[in-house]
Symmetry: D2
Subunit: 304 residues, 4 copies
Amino acid sequence: MQDFNTIINNIHNNLKDNVVKGVVASYIPELSKQDVNQFGIFIQHMNGENFSVGDAEVPFSIQSISKVLSLSKAIAFENNDIWKRVDVEPSGNPFNHLSLLELENGIPRNPLINAGAIVIADILCSQFKNPKQEFLQYVRAIANDQSIDYNLKVAASEKETGFNNLAAANLLKSFGNLNNDVDVVMDFYFHQCALEMTCSQVAKAFYVFANKGRCVNNKQHISSSQAKRINAIMLTCGFYDESGEFAFEVGLPGKSGVGGGIVALLPNQYVITTWAPGLNAKGNSLIGMQALEQFTTQTNLSIF
Amino acid sequence: MQDFNTIINNIHNNLKDNVVKGVVASYIPELSKQDVNQFGIFIQHMNGENFSVGDAEVPFSIQSISKVLSLSKAIAFENNDIWKRVDVEPSGNPFNHLSLLELENGIPRNPLINAGAIVIADILCSQFKNPKQEFLQYVRAIANDQSIDYNLKVAASEKETGFNNLAAANLLKSFGNLNNDVDVVMDFYFHQCALEMTCSQVAKAFYVFANKGRCVNNKQHISSSQAKRINAIMLTCGFYDESGEFAFEVGLPGKSGVGGGIVALLPNQYVITTWAPGLNAKGNSLIGMQALEQFTTQTNLSIF
Amino acid sequence: MQDFNTIINNIHNNLKDNVVKGVVASYIPELSKQDVNQFGIFIQHMNGENFSVGDAEVPFSIQSISKVLSLSKAIAFENNDIWKRVDVEPSGNPFNHLSLLELENGIPRNPLINAGAIVIADILCSQFKNPKQEFLQYVRAIANDQSIDYNLKVAASEKETGFNNLAAANLLKSFGNLNNDVDVVMDFYFHQCALEMTCSQVAKAFYVFANKGRCVNNKQHISSSQAKRINAIMLTCGFYDESGEFAFEVGLPGKSGVGGGIVALLPNQYVITTWAPGLNAKGNSLIGMQALEQFTTQTNLSIF
Amino acid sequence: MQDFNTIINNIHNNLKDNVVKGVVASYIPELSKQDVNQFGIFIQHMNGENFSVGDAEVPFSIQSISKVLSLSKAIAFENNDIWKRVDVEPSGNPFNHLSLLELENGIPRNPLINAGAIVIADILCSQFKNPKQEFLQYVRAIANDQSIDYNLKVAASEKETGFNNLAAANLLKSFGNLNNDVDVVMDFYFHQCALEMTCSQVAKAFYVFANKGRCVNNKQHISSSQAKRINAIMLTCGFYDESGEFAFEVGLPGKSGVGGGIVALLPNQYVITTWAPGLNAKGNSLIGMQALEQFTTQTNLSIF
């Protein structure tokens, strides 16, 4: 296990001075203020050990990484009923995501694309009495950390510019696949995406998926079978139009966010989170993708 | 000209007892209350004569017919500048209109599909101080009739169920092709579509396009060249996914609405309006289409 | 009528030294040899007069213009039965024509796009005993000119590079919308497109559509009603993705070909052919489009 | 390991009398002759043991399962160069596969959809002197079985009806992504798909992917890294439009064919092949999918 420390320190050293670091997300004004040079890695091993390098304790906007957390809570609530409203197939095209939704009569391709995550948000808005508060409590519980919170500036920033997501929500509503008011669901959704967490907090939260549904406190939040299914969805759908590439290069279930975070895991072994705000052309952290590819190549610890 | 009277009376007689009358639009709750047996025809000839049969003086919801009126006012305001924001090509697919908008980066195919008409509504919201009031005045002026008004119940009904249009507006906004707030534009748009007019009022309003831009009062509202262009757009884009069929069967520039109205015209000769609320599978008045096909076949008065 | 002479001479003078002339079609190797400076105009009036300027008697490859001729013969053979196998709606997107064909289960959007014209070619292959010979006789008959012939080099050149058309034909076959062998139909199709005609020959052949189905020899080849329908199809579908633009700018039914020819007509009045091999980005003759736009603007002789 | 025997016998017993067995593929006439009641399972374990039940030694048409074998040989020949001509992303829509190919300029989504496999076939046609013979030798070598052969009737049957594949090949050719003649590539492709193998032969051939590139004879055919990548591609793209579902329900890399075969594997542990000719609506073996789902649920041996 000492290896992990050496390996991630070497990877961090190799990549931190990369000239090409990608571009910080600009479509959400608040996110564009991030420093492209920040870079952290954190590993939470199932044996209790953890490993950390760089900016692993700096909070960042987890954005789409939150979709896995909301999905897990929706599955805990409704189990298989959610698959009547959202499919589990990879989405294929990135450039016409509303097109697919339209062609397929308002059934999103999977719960990790925006339209699918909005349906999941709608489910949580129906199941929770105080959705924003109770979802935050759930995240704090699985991560075992009461300090996690929403960044309200980011949530407000997304609300002001999230027209594409509003288009998706209205389209879902027009197909009868949104039970709550568009405004209610989107207020929840924009907050969910604006969760701020550190690499270590994200790794601890995702421990539940690597550990058959039990969190770091050993409490069962979802069943072992539900955890497996969420891992399968992360593998096939976790990286937008680069999901196949990630499976191919890294070989782990995982999820990225436009805040520059990536979390990936090997069931029963470890969770790894990277954070580097510069994105590649597909919207995934450029340095993070490289770090994970180097990690599974050097450790030979992938699912394939 | 006596022929016209005989011809439209015969057509009215032949069709009014048709067993198959199509289905009244139901997606706007207020429209679903219409009586499928209503049927009127009105012809306004350039020589001043007019001809009428059936329910030609009963007000109906003109819906998409209003898109030609708003387009004409936008052209009067901005002339060719509007073609930077909306194209003039037929739209092809009906079933995935948002797909096209997405693939073509937020430039609607033409001003007579919903997305295009929403861009036109945005232009009017920028040009008018009191858009709803001033647009109503324009329509009253070209139709020479101060009694024309919005049906506020229909406008409210559309607002409550117009999620697909809200999706289009938000998508336009996400592409930077909507300058005003979505809510402002859509409030105007839902009112515009909720204009209530009779067959004779519609025919008089559209006289301006058959008469080189001069209305029934002989006032020039748009240039002769602008009138020609609007006619060209009606011919290629006026009937959703049935535009080719209408050109083929009827051979006149025209526009239909889901309220069951159709207006068509032969430049320099006449304007004809039909109204029968039952729609065919493509959303055009079933009886109205047949009436117009029979009219141009019997009179041999088409553009081809 | 002297006006016509003056007008087309002026237009020819204005445009013939244009610096920007478009690009000669290169995807068919034989066509790329054309001289971009060639430019002819020919008008055949219904009153028997004709007007000519520039290279109006130089033969060129009529390419897609031939689709209107084959359509007219197929309609003469099968009348309305052909509309079970091909639609009459504009095609919308140019960049994914096979996509549309696939989405719409092998029913081409209209007979003037490639897939539709291949279905029409299949009909002629079923109706004719010697398709290539008999179709040539038909064209010679309506144009009243026995010298018209295929350019065999161009036909061979298209055969060697026509993979996209072969893809369309195989896709039609897979949907059961091609009765003859792919090779047989495509051999006919490539010859049809390789017809070589002058501006004056094209104008004479299309006289039949302006003259209610009667050719220059006054023989009835198609019915008056069929001629009207073909004109309607030309107006809505004759210029690929620029059909709306042509209706808007020129206001006449017409058809273009990648050889640089354009033919357009005002029913009961005249047929005009232009030829200038340089194409615009949409595949239509750049100078030809301008010439026709200037012609209808100056004469005020359009259908709108 | 005795468990495996009991487990697959129980699964076989449970499923073999299922009333609903799916529909035998009919689009290739030869395949439609298969008996829907045939059902075999074979497991090849890395420890050398194997387990068998039902029709595990009856040869069937492996069809698309062959795409993984041809891909592995192409990777062995050209390594990463092949990724310039074919992508590794899931394909999303099944119903418009040519559409995607067209939109993405002739670069197939992945090597396991038809268009991608045709590009791979083109690579083999360039690399092999006698493609059909040498590919057969490769398959015999990795399966360690000289009796494997093409079913020439099936190959001929596919050739006569494979218009959709011919459309794809011609489209690839039109985009410059096919170096050999369409006929040459498709003759190879139709033979490749017509390979006839038993469950045990398929399991032995796929041993190479579960065993880091070494076949049952311990010979290294591809590198360990190449084997991992092929597994990643199988997981994300192996089951047409049901790849996400398979990852979700079964949780193994695998590949299906319309002959009713499915092969799946857990790296470093085992390969399992099922064969039951009845297909579900997505074109995968109905009984085979259920058998594999039950197998990984009962053994808890999946990658997630």
